[in-house]
């Protein structure tokens, strides 16, 4: 392991790699500031730039984006009461009141340091937990992988869509799309309609960019309201000084944030908004002065922001160790890893140890860059919000185009991107969610080839899928989760009916 870190150190501490990480962090921060542009989209748009880079450099850049976008949602949340990302919704609870009291600089300083400490702590958790999990996963056979992919799909379906049913349908759409192209076992074409470009299946990148970026552009085009103009923040903040001591003085909130982020992070599909709300709630409960929360209390900001960034490291655990992403941004990152020729999963730790430790270290470095860039560039990032939306829309389309075309110069992929953009727009609009589709596309081939290989190995007998201990555990948890989600939906509906009746 020490050797791995030494090798990783050599890969990360090169001028080009550090520059790429800093650049990724910078772009991530800008994307995080803009409401509606998520870290998933930021990574999808940056993917093409990373093609020519060596793996650690390219992935470091994407991790920087993830890290920057995770932290910078707090800037508009504190200054303008507009959460830049879904996970900074809870930052507005205390951050904006602080700004109103004239403490905007202090709130930003706390948010930045809390994000930084949360990110560093989650990197430690990641580096400690991912290798043993990957080692455990080496025991997996065909049956286990099949069950694991079913498990992953059920989890994301149960949290991503507005209802379990819709989430499952979205996931199955992804599974179905993954069957287009050449069959993995018999080598026959399926559903290609004579299109040569479809023989290799639907490429992940156009699907990703279509689902996350193009669908958002269409939504913006649809909901465009010219009267909705953002006002510049009345709070003048030129530079945000990091407030390490004050953040550490709020150690309870910090610890609560880190723990909730790290626990929620690895749960596939849970996402940042859940982690930050859980952290805020728990921090208030553990606080000695719970009545101050919501009125501009520093501890509130610290808990939320540390949870936001602690989540990212947690979400990377299943992504790297099992090849199953925790949420949308890591799903896109997984696509990026595969394009770099790094196939996440247990074998990664066996074969490419240097790269994996390089990734851990790159994530750590990204957190440092995030701290520095956020502190120095506050003024610039607030101004980003004033860029007119219409110019952004068309510029994003141009970047989507470059991203997809840049891979292999195939125009057909552009139409695939547009088709997925439309699909994503309608899926989002009717509460199906787009994350399950992407996960279905990634997990589909794993599920299919392992199901068929398993059936071949067991001579057509499907009972081993339910009798092998690890496999059955995944299926039981997946089934339990289905039941739990249905039960929760039922309960909340009853509650609604009760409150409507009274």
């Amino acid at each position: 392991m020490l050797m791995g870190y030494m090798e990783g150190l050599g890969l990360v501490f090169q001028f080009g790699t550090l520059l790429a990480i800093a650049g990724g962090t910078f772009l991530g921060i800008i994307m995080g500031v803009l409401p509606g542009l998520t870290s998933a989209m930021a990574i999808a748009l940056l993917l093409p730039v990373t093609f020519g880079m060596p793996p650690v450099m390219g992935i470091g850049m994407l991790l920087g984006t993830l890290c920057g976008a995770g932290a910078s949602g707090s800037i508009p949340a504190i200054l303008l009461n507009i959460p830049g990302t879904p996970s900074s919704v809870a930052t507005t609870f205390d951050g904006f009141p602080m700004a109103q009291k004239g403490e905007a600089g202090r709130a930003l300083g706390l948010a930045i340091v809390a994000s930084f400490l949360g990110g560093v702590a989650s990197m430690v958790v990641l580096s400690l937990l991912a290798p043993p999990i990957a080692e455990f996963a080496l025991r997996f056979g065909a049956a286990e992988y099949f069950s694991l992919s079913v498990f992953g799909l059920v989890i994301i379906a149960s949290v991503a869509g507005k209802s379990l049913l819709k989430g499952l349908i979205a996931g199955l759409i992804g599974f179905f799309c993954s069957t287009i192209g050449t069959d993995p076992i018999a080598g026959v074409d399926r559903f290609t309609f004579g299109q040569l470009s479809l023989l290799t299946g639907i490429n992940l990148l156009p699907a990703l960019i279509g689902l996350f970026a193009v669908s958002q552009v269409l939504k913006d085009a649809f909901d465009y309201d010219p009267s909705n103009k953002l006002q510049n923040s009345p709070h003048k903040v030129d530079i945000a000084r990091p407030r390490f001591l004050e953040t550490l003085r709020n150690w309870r909130a910090l610890l609560v944030g880190i723990v909730s982020g790290s626990v929620v992070g690895p749960v596939p599909g849970a996402g940042g908004s859940i982690a930050s709300l859980v952290a805020y709630d728990q921090a208030r409960r553990f606080s000695k002065t719970p009545e101050k929360f919501g009125k501009g209390h520093g501890a509130g900001v610290v808990s939320v922001e540390s949870a936001n960034n602690a989540l990212l490291g947690g979400a990377l655990i299943p992504t790297l160790a099992l090849g199953i992403p925790g949420e949308a941004a890591t799903a896109v990152l997984l696509g990026g890893l595969m394009i770099q020729g790094v196939t996440p999963g247990p074998m990664l730790f066996e074969n490419q140890g240097g790269i994996i430790y390089g990734i851990f270290l790159a994530y750590l470095v990204a957190n440092f860059f995030m701290l520095i860039i956020m502190c120095l560039g506050i003024k610039l990032f607030v101004r980003v919000l004033l860029v007119p939306r219409k110019q952004l829309i068309s510029a994003i389309i141009v970047f989507c185009f470059i991203g997809v075309y840049g891979v292999d110069g195939d125009v057909f992929n552009l139409y695939i991107m547009l088709a997925f953009g439309l699909l994503g727009y309608f899926l989002n609009r009717y509460g199906f969610g787009t994350a399950p589709v992407i996960l279905g596309l990634i997990l589909g081939p794993i599920a299919e080839s392992n199901l068929r290989r398993g059936l071949q190995v067991f001579g057509g007998d499907w009972s081993p899928f339910f009798t092998r201990p690890i496999s059955v555990t995944f299926l039981v948890i997946a089934f339990g989760l289905l039941v739990l989600t249905l039960w929760q939906n039922y309960r909340s509906r009853q509650k609604e009916a009760n409150s409507a009746a009274t």
């Binding site: 730039v49 076992i185 389309i397 547009l418 001579g459």
Partner: protein, 147 residues
């Protein structure tokens, strides 16, 4: 030989159709869920539409049709023309540059509200500068293939 429990526990897949096995499973699952959603969500919704409480999606919605379909048409035209123009100047990325400038300009016009000289000038400058910068960085510095 195949009787009772053992036939229940095993499946046999014909090699000729083995490539359709997984898609078939998925399609049946999807069909099942589709029926479920028809019964649980769509049927009550349609009843509400009939009573006049809700309106049909897409058809019955107020929407800026010109902008929505204009955006879609522009994007499709952008992709198509890129390849056409790009073939006139192969391997230079000029196709991207020229078509992007036109595309950015038209998209901005589509969303423009105050038709003053000043705003249009800003649009034109933006439409020329942004793609040129992207073209220079990506095609020249990162040597990414552009049409």
């Amino acid at each position: 030989m195949e009787s009772g429990l053992s036939s229940l526990l095993s499946v046999s897949i014909d090699f000729e159709t083995s490539h359709l096995f997984f898609p078939k499973v998925i399609n049946w699952l999807m069909a099942g869920l589709f029926v479920l959603i028809l019964v649980t969500k769509v049927a009550p919704f349609m009843a509400a539409v009939k009573r006049g409480e809700r309106t049909l999606p897409i058809v019955g919605e107020a929407r800026d049709n010109f902008r929505f379909f204009g955006t879609l048409a522009l994007i499709a035209a952008y992709f198509y023309l890129m390849a056409v123009v790009g073939n006139m100047f192969p391997y230079t990325g000029y196709g991207f540059l020229i078509v992007s400038i036109v595309f950015l300009f038209l998209m901005s016009l589509l969303y423009l509200h105050d038709w003053r000289k000043k705003t249009i000038t800003i649009l034109v400058i933006n439409a020329i500068v942004a793609p040129s910068l992207a073209w220079f960085i990506l095609a020249k510095l990162f040597t990414i293939t552009l049409p």
